[in-house]
């Protein structure tokens, strides 16, 4: 890794963090307009400076550590979340010749880090020593490990089609046909699991605000809460990017007319934002699942379906 690579990595991460900060503006505007409201309008033109105002406010908030909490673990939990969320970015191929780390086990790396991210929620809920946080952390652990299986199994089909676990190779294997067509079943399973894995509506039981106040984050405030928030939205971006890379052809775009002059990374960002929009659209449409329903969907529907998808893919490749 040369100095130039290092500088590019820092620039990519900074741009990513700005996206993570601004996606909450996108979310509030999307949900606002879907509910026939305007969303944030006060700070700057159409509220465009709202995320900056929010970040400043959180930065100047008092840092409250509950006296009953387990302090070192309480301190470390949000940092684990941020590390797991942001460093998944390393293997996403942004354009044809560039990803920060070109690992041949890209998919495994992202799945591993999303499991590590679950630790931040679990130990954050445990360390707070509050009943709401504890329940939120427990729910999060059971939910994340249940959906991780179906998510991992749904990506096996993609790896069989591409013959590689390297994300750049997977994009190259889709030059003729995007994997969303032969792997539509895997795509559905993957997206539902991704919603549960990132604790988003309709599977946001770990922080179900109607029953658990704010779940695992109840005792967190100010900058520590902001780090949890960053980790969650970084996770949304990473899962959207993984979906775009594995099923929608990643950086590749139409090669006709003036479209062939558009830089590759623009196509990737467009696809990622299409998925992010889908996340917000689902959030403003669907109610929350009950916990037993959540477990039923994961264990009784998604896992058998993803195994069936693997067998089907194997049969189709042999014939």
């Amino acid at each position: 890794m040369t100095l130039a690579d290092f500088i590019i990595s820092i620039i990519v991460i900074s741009v990513f963090l700005i996206h993570v900060m601004y996606v909450q503006y996108f979310e509030r505007k999307t949900i606002g307009h879907m509910q026939a409201r305007l969303g944030p309008m006060r700070v700057g033109w159409h509220g465009i400076l709202q995320p900056i105002a929010d970040s400043l406010k959180l930065f100047f908030k008092e840092d409250i550590i509950p006296s009953q909490s387990d302090k070192p673990i309480f301190f470390i939990a949000p940092i684990i979340g941020v590390i797991a969320g942001v460093s998944s970015l390393a293997v996403i191929p942004l354009w044809e010749t560039f990803s920060i780390a070109d690992l041949n086990i890209g998919i495994l790396y992202i799945l591993a880090l999303s499991s590590v991210g679950a630790y931040s929620v679990i130990i954050g809920g445990w360390a707070s020593n509050s009943k709401y946080s504890f329940l939120g952390g427990l729910r999060a652990s059971a939910q994340v490990i249940s959906y991780e299986i179906s998510m991992g199994l749904s990506l096996v089909g993609v790896m069989m089609m591409a013959g590689s676990a390297n994300l750049a190779d997977i994009v190259k294997a889709q030059s003729e046909q995007w994997f969303i067509i032969p792997q539509f079943l895997a795509f559905g399973i993957f997206f539902i699991s991704a919603l549960a894995e990132t604790n988003r509506v309709p599977f946001d039981l770990p922080e179900a605000e109607a029953e658990l106040v704010s779940g695992f984050a109840t005792e967190y405030s100010g900058m520590r809460w902001a780090l949890f928030f960053m980790a969650e939205y970084a996770g949304v971006f990473i899962m959207s990017a993984l979906a775009a890379v594995c099923f929608l052809g990643g950086w590749s775009g139409p090669d006709i007319w003036f479209f062939s002059y558009v830089p590759d990374v623009v196509w990737l960002i467009l696809k990622v934002y299409a998925f992010v929009f889908l996340y917000f659209w689902i959030r403003s449409t669907l109610p929350r699942y009950r916990y037993d329903q959540l477990m039923n969907i994961g264990w009784k529907i998604l896992i058998p379906l993803s195994l069936a998808n693997i067998i089907l893919t194997g049969l189709l490749k042999i014939v």
């Binding site: 890794m1 690579d5 290092f6 990595s9 820092i10 991460i13 963090l17 930065f59 100047f60 008092e62 840092d63 409250i64 009953q68 949000p78 940092i79 941020v82 590390i83 942001v86 460093s87 970015l89 390393a90 920060i100 780390a101 690992l103 790396y109 020593n129 509050s130 009943k131 709401y132 504890f134 427990l138 652990s141 490990i145 249940s146 991780e148 299986i149 991992g152 199994l153 096996v156 089909g157 790896m159 069989m160 013959g163 590689s164 676990a165 109840t218 005792e219 100010g222 900058m223 520590r224 780090l227 477990m295 264990w299 009784k300 896992i303 058998p304 693997i310 194997g314 049969l315 042999i318």
Partner: protein
Amino acid sequence: MPGTYVPSDYFPVLVIILIAASVGLGALLVGPLVRPRRRYKQKLSAYESGNPPVGEARQKFSVKYYIVAMLFVVFDVEAVFLYPWAVAYDKLGIFGFIEMMLFIFILLVGYIYVWKKGAFEWE
């Protein structure tokens, strides 16, 4: 040193982890210089709808969570076997396909057994 394997592909991963950690730590460590600090006992107690907290938060919880954890280990080991198989699928051909069908079949027997035992029921 001859024979020493240096995983140089993973060096950028280490760098990005350090950058992410410094973002998190920086936000927490710079803050105390500008933040207010007015603490008292009630503010530092755990939130329980405004009442003083009753008892310990870390109480007994349902054994269901342990069962989910055990099932997870079984199925995750299965997934770990499937990854290298999927990557090498084209080379293994029909032999690899049949082998893996046997493996999935054995696991399905266990899956059906666990289902019939009611481990997936979350009353």
